[in-house]
């Protein structure tokens, strides 16, 4: 990439729910250090955290690629999970395939993707059943 873009990469472990959220936490910290507007930081943190949690609970982990420029942040979260058969359905508030075990951990409201849509300025989902999912989030500062 051209100069002026800060890049960070994170692994998202699939087997450790205590660690789930560490990547989002690191990015949040970094944005605070960079002096980014607090509203943009909160939007980024929530959207990325939802995507990170989805990669953990629905896809057994993955990786996050983060690009920060002067005026925006782009986050690409990739997993090799089961994919999403019907993205439009999955984007509806309340739609969730979460198991009882996941619900006991406080997830499964079916609000994660709607929250990403609400808080990110741009959201793109590429997914293939049996292959995996790539969620790209962009927030402008």
């Amino acid at each position: 990439m051209s100069s002026g873009v800060l890049r960070r990469q994170y692994t998202i472990p699939g087997d450790d729910l205590t660690a789930a959220g560490e990547a989002s936490s690191s990015v949040k910290k970094l944005l605070v250090q960079l002096g980014v507007d607090p509203v943009a930081i909160k939007k980024t943190a929530i959207a990325m955290y939802e995507a990170e949690i989805n990669a953990v609970i629905h896809a057994n982990g993955g990786a996050a690629d983060v690009f920060i420029s002067k005026d925006s942040i782009t986050i690409v979260i990739k997993d090799k999970g089961p994919g999403i058969a019907d993205v439009n359905l999955a984007l509806q508030e309340g739609y969730s395939t979460a198991s009882d075990k996941i619900r006991e951990m406080g997830f499964g409201a079916g609000m994660g993707l709607p929250n990403m849509k609400r808080y990110a300025d741009e959201l793109d989902i590429k997914t293939e059943v049996g292959k995996g999912t790539i969620v790209t989030l962009k927030v402008y500062f």
């Binding site: 959220g21 929530i46 951990m105 406080g106 609000m111």
Partner: protein, 115 residues
């Protein structure tokens, strides 16, 4: 109302304390579903939950929620307390149920309006 006043009203034990305990709060969010919490956009919020999980602390961190009250006197695993310390999130535990805790706080003047 200050966060410290919430501890008094709910007769809650403060397990992790930061200087934010003297800060004003205008609203309470009571939920066991973290994505519902994240759909709730208000400032100066305290989270009440019956869910005991490190992800409660993570959610508070992302949302800039300064304090979490665990209801029904649940035992908190060290992992939750440690993470809260690391992320500077105030943690309290009360024996009240969610319903009673919310009721007490509402009737004490935290109505979620004008904040």
């Amino acid at each position: 109302m200050k966060i410290i006043d919430i501890a008094k009203i709910l007769n809650a034990e403060v397990l992790v304390e930061t200087e934010e305990i003297q800060k004003e709060v205008y609203s309470i969010c009571g939920s066991d579903l973290m994505s519902d919490v994240m759909a709730y956009v208000k400032e100066n919020v305290v989270l009440l939950t019956g869910l005991v999980s490190p992800q409660v602390i993570r959610t508070a961190e992302m949302m800039d929620i300064k304090a979490v009250v665990f209801v029904r006197g649940k035992k908190l695993p060290p992992a939750v307390i440690d993470l809260a310390r690391e992320k500077s999130v105030i943690v309290m535990s009360t024996n009240e149920t969610m319903f009673t805790a919310c009721g007490k706080l509402y009737s004490s003047g935290i109505t979620g309006r004008g904040g």
